[in-house]
Amino acid sequence: MSVRATGGWRLRKNTAFLLMVLPGFIWLVLLKYLPMGGIVLAFKNFHFARGGFWQSLWESSWCGLQNFEFLFASQNAWIITRNTILYNLVFIVTGTILALAIAVALSELLNRRLAKLYQTCLFFPYFLSWVVVGYLLLGFLSFDKGAVNGMLGQFGWQPVQWYDQPGVWPYILSFINLWKNAGYNAVIYLAAIMGIDRQYYEAAEIDGAGKWQQTIYVTLPHLYKLIIVMVLLAVGRIFSADFGLFYQVPLNSGALYPTTDVIDTYVFRSLMYTGDIGMTTAAGLYQSVVGFILIMLVNKVIKKYDRESAMF
């Protein structure tokens, strides 16, 4: 008689694992998947009524794509989309270049101790919260006491109301983004550089390549794949912005919205202050859907380019 592994044994084996995933499963369902169902709000004419949220949700009428029409009819949709994408593009280009420069410089430094110290300093801003970063910037840009206006004053120039000047903020925010994140990205590139076999450099050295040429012909080609993948991943996220950067750093100053408002801050403010739930949900859904499509496209491209690095 041949005895097969019974269902009972299988289940007993899996029970422990099912128990292990249970807390995470509950979390995922409550905080991720249930909200995904909440996107019905985008297609409803939602108003808080008596009887609380759930009853309001139940009783509010369907309105098709009206919320989206409303969103795209306003100037806002265009501004926040443009801002989000432009900022991200600038961040990707400048961030990659600076991170690479830092990584190469760190890897070539003769004194390893110093390299460690520099790295520690450069990585540090990444760990500060955006609230703190907002304060640090305020120390420089405060109208009456800030260091920048103080300096302008010494040259006899008029102080500037920085938090009222939308025109300069694209530069400021791009700079702050670099300041906070370049070290983080550099660490990733540095790890890859450290993984390059020293023999390539020795071979190049024997072939008469100088250090600069070694960087161009040995280091960068080895990083090529990683750079492409990192850039593509960033492109996949181009439709979402770092809320903290755009909310905390400009101190949520209304005068700056034309140049600092991105999809995430817009959605947040609409939720908190306007109460137009349907339209706000629509804006968030618009972001999610486009973001999803982008990520899928990017993953496809990466897969074609380098199977190993694809996300899934």
Binding site: A16, M36, G38, Y118, T120, F124, F127, Y135, T280, S288
Partner: protein, 304 residues
């Protein structure tokens, strides 16, 4: 002949090294300087700020801001308490939830591992957006003005799952799991007695990421908290941007002396002092744990 400029094999020249040093030094200084600046502001006297604005070297040093914090800054104590409770409880909880989940889907013999892997990955790709999340959190889960609102949203993280999974799938772990099975250990015991101790670097990485995330979190407080007694440090920092009163409105017994202090409140220095107080733990902890962060960044991919 002289020897300058001769470099060792594969090394930059002395001049190149100098240039690199200069480049990195300037960048490093730029990274550290702002915090130093804020520290000095917090140590400036009221008068010197009024007269000269913020200066790296204040005309007059003063510990007034800190003194002030500790005499009537009841809120600071409260907020620190909230942040510490949230950070400790949240980190323990998230490490537990995440590592158990990651371990189960790292095991080849878990029948439903594919399903649960996808379940964890999908939220990285698509989300319902802020509004539905907010509605579920406040209407169904009652996160409003609850510590749960500060702890739960960060308690699980799909990236952590992917990082941990690589540790749990490491080649040296599998035979030990089998040895433990033969020794008669159940799955939970295998996990807690064998796998977890051996994956300590990975778990420590996750714990640190998690602890730093909780410590620096202001977003969930922005969404869910408006009670001063539940406001964590970062959110308090946010609140005092517009209104330093926040620090004292929570103090119950304002003596005449305290009112006096309040009148002469070193507004700017005090704000910056809170910034310093909120950041000090990170400054102290970060350099020691740096390598864990770096390791965390360089392992783990979503792919199977």
């Amino acid at each position: 002949m002289f020897k300058t400029g001769r470099r060792g094999v594969g090394q930059v020249s002395a001049r190149g090294n100098l240039l690199l040093n200069l480049f990195l030094f300037l960048l490093s200084a730029a990274c550290v300087y702002p915090l130093l600046f804020v520290l000095m502001i917090s140590l400036s006297s009221n008068e010197s700020i009024a007269a000269n604005g913020y200066r790296l070297w204040p005309g007059q040093f003063s510990f007034g801001a800190y003194q002030y914090m500790f005499t009537i800054g009841q809120q600071i104590i409260t907020s620190y308490g909230v942040t510490i409770v949230v950070t400790v409880a949240g980190t323990v909880l998230s490490v537990l939830i995440t590592s158990l989940y990651a371990y189960a889907i790292a095991r080849d013999d878990f029948r439903y591992r594919k399903f649960f892997t996808y379940l964890a990955i999908i939220p990285l790709l698509f989300s319902g957006g802020l509004v539905p999340f907010y509605m579920v959190s406040t209407q169904l889960l009652h996160f409003r003005n609850s510590l749960l609102g500060l702890i739960m949203p960060l308690a699980f993280n799909s990236f952590f799952i992917m990082i941990l999974r690589t540790y749990f799938r490491a080649g040296n772990i599998k035979p030990l799991i089998e040895a433990a099975k033969i020794d008669g250990a159940g799955e939970f015991r295998i996990f807690f007695r064998i796998v977890l101790p051996l994956s300590l670097p990975g778990v420590a990485t996750i714990a640190l990421f998690s602890a730093f995330a909780y410590w620096g979190d202001w977003y969930n407080a922005l969404l869910f908290i408006d009670q001063p007694s539940l406001t964590p440090v970062q959110a308090m920092l946010m609140n005092i941007q517009s209104n330093l009163q926040f620090i004292i409105q929570n103090s119950t017994n304002l003596s005449a002396q305290a009112f006096d202090l309040l009148r002469n409140m070193p507004t700017d220095a005090a704000r910056m002092a809170v910034v310093i107080l909120a950041t000090v733990p990170i400054i102290l902890a970060y350099p020691f744990f740096q390598r864990y962060f770096i390791r965390g960044l360089t392992v783990g991919g979503v792919k199977d």
